[in-house]
Symmetry: C2
Subunit: 382 residues, 2 copies
């Protein structure tokens, strides 16, 4: 990626800073401006009050899932203005419910609540909830204002930027959706303490990805820090957000550069869809971690990634993630799933590969034989 250097400024000594950070200490509020809206990073109680100065809404609907209703809603509720009608929409949790049926439930609840176009929707939850709640808000009466409050690490560093909304359809992830920006995003790392460790690790995969494609210094720092301090470190989140911000701003509608974010995802998405029907569904980040391993192999084979870096990636990912063995009988189905990827054109399977750590090459094409080899190799290094 040509602009890789411009993505690595501002915080030269990650290692030192990481050593100075303590488990979940607060830093001052940070604001990132992205495509006309603001991402607020810091305590929700400090950031949210400014929202009520931004607009006049006739009512508020909060969309949460069973988990965030239990663990996160109690933190949000006291911060909402008492004078506005409040509607709570609770949906089942999990990727398996990211489908048109859940959207229909949300729309039904919005209709039943009598939401007008002047209502505000607040999506409180992980990426699945934010994608669906955002899609329903963006399509109800052709579009209500909405705010994202991502409560998982994955959603905080990934889904919170980019305006991608939607749901899975016909076995293909996110195959129906729209691009639309929230009016604001509030990232409070305090919510991360409500997460099971497996979820935290899953989200960390996108932090790893952002480092690998555009921030070699953060990659080095991550490798050397204990995992527990890294996942709760607000500076790590901020730095990861800045990578995504720079890429999305340069390519809001995924016409080119944004494909850089696809590293690990072409194979990862296929693994996730494949595992969804099996006995051991993978979390998104787990699938992406496995996908990054296989695509790092392709990077070594096709794009000149040094072997030492391939080994570094393998070691790091194996240390963090439980990874599934892929039966050879699954390869056909996996490749068929990759063909459905939205970024494909003309029947080829397109990858974002790493010529080096901190750099990425979009529109790298691999044929079926090379993909098959990468999947075989992946099984051998587990």
């Amino acid at each position: 990626m040509k602009n890789a250097h411009s993505l690595q400024p501002f915080w030269e000594n990650v290692e030192k800073a990481l050593r100075l950070q303590h488990y979940f200490q607060r830093m001052p509020m940070h604001s990132l401006s992205v495509s006309g809206y603001t991402i607020h990073l810091g305590a929700l109680a400090e950031a949210l009050p400014t929202l009520w100065l931004q607009g006049q809404w006739s009512a508020i609907a909060v969309v949460c899932d069973e988990n965030t209703y239990m663990h996160c809603w109690p933190l949000l509720q006291p911060l909402l203005p008492a004078h506005l009608a409040l509607h709570l929409i609770v949906i089942p949790a999990g990727e398996a419910h990211k489908n048109v049926h859940t959207c229909v439930r949300i729309w039904e609840d919005m209709l039943r609540a009598g939401l007008e176009r002047s209502a505000l929707v607040i999506n409180l939850g992980g990426g699945v909830l934010g994608d669906m709640g955002g899609f329903c808000a963006a399509t109800f009466k052709r579009g209500l204002d909405f705010v994202q409050i991502p409560t998982t690490l994955l959603a905080q560093v990934d889904a919170s930027i980019g305006g991608k909304l939607g749901f899975d359809f016909g076995g293909v992830k996110n195959s129906i959706g729209v691009f639309r920006h929230p009016i604001a995003v509030y990232i409070d790392p305090a919510f991360l303490h409500t997460l099971p460790e497996r979820e935290l690790r899953s989200g960390f995969a996108e932090v790893i990805k952002h480092a690998l494609i555009a921030d070699a210094a953060q990659w080095e720092a991550l490798r050397q820090a204990p995992l527990e301090s890294a996942v709760h470190n607000e500076e790590v989140i901020l730095r990861s957000l800045r990578v995504k911000q720079a890429i999305v701003e340069a390519d809001p509608y995924e016409k080119g550069l944004r494909k850089a974010l696809n590293f690990g995802h072409t194979i990862g998405h296929a693994l996730e869809a494949w595992a969804l029907d099996g006995p051991l569904p993978l979390l998104h980040g787990e699938a992406i971690a496995a996908g990054m391993m296989a695509e790092a192999f392709l990077s070594w084979q096709l794009s000149g990634l040094p072997e030492a870096d391939l080994e570094g990636i393998v070691q790091f990912i194996r240390r963090i993630y439980p990874l599934p063995t892929l039966p050879e009988t699954s390869f056909e189905q996996l490749i068929a799933l990759m063909r459905h990827d939205k970024k494909n054109t003309g029947g080829h399977i397109s990858f974002a590969l790493l010529p080096a750590i901190g750099q990425v090459q979009v529109d790298s094409f691999a044929d079926e034989a090379a993909i098959r080899e990468a999947l075989c190799w992946y099984n051998t290094v587990l």
Copy 2:
């Protein structure tokens, strides 16, 4: 409406021109530029070839309904480039199928056809088909290019401009949708010959509305021309399009002025939804015609429309449309349906009313008693 005068230029002597027009004679191609795309008015065979110079698509999917597949597809098929993969998606016809289930069918067909993001969708049909085909194109893989070829008078003068897409949900018309523009619209009045007369009359209601809200001269001309010549007159279509174009351009996201287009629609939409479950469903234009009568009464009561103009509207509409009597028992339900209108804020029911022919006043509020009186009055003048 303040800009009413600027909407009435270019063709001063409508009467004379109407006399000179013959049944379906062709005029030279006209192009209107709207919000970044072009509406081509004229023979499809003449206009469509320029589309293939505008972009490179990997495949074409044509969405039609059972009727347009029979009557319109044979006219389009020879004009499509032979080298592109072609997929035909045929859905059931009619407003009763404008729902999420039909969208799911379209998405399934798009997925089965393996459409990539670089595919082009062509929607061949009336407003219902264009709204749903457009919505599915705008949301499949977060958005494919699409072209609208409206085949009904209603879709040609109304749905072709404005970028409103979507479907009915929970008994509320167009309650789910997005704003998104096609890359081009092709209006060929030749398709109108494929329509039953009832459909043609229905579409004519929007021509009447455009004249009433912004073009007093066209209103006078319409009143004096035989209906058969008016509905097949390309100049009438063009003039009607220019009204909508001027309003939509001034207010693309329905924040204010665009509500002017709502004349007849607050009550009309409620009538349409109410009749949908009854033994005699109304066509959209028939419902709007009845709605315009009732809202003309409100205009006389609340906005100063002269009584002579109210009578002129009643006479003209009664001459063209079969209109249903509204049982008093339906009034509650009708008013509840009006409350669901997307343009409402703060619980009031908002109308676009006529202070005079060719002028419109948005955000005119009527209370329930006034609406009830208008519905009673409507029954008496049938």
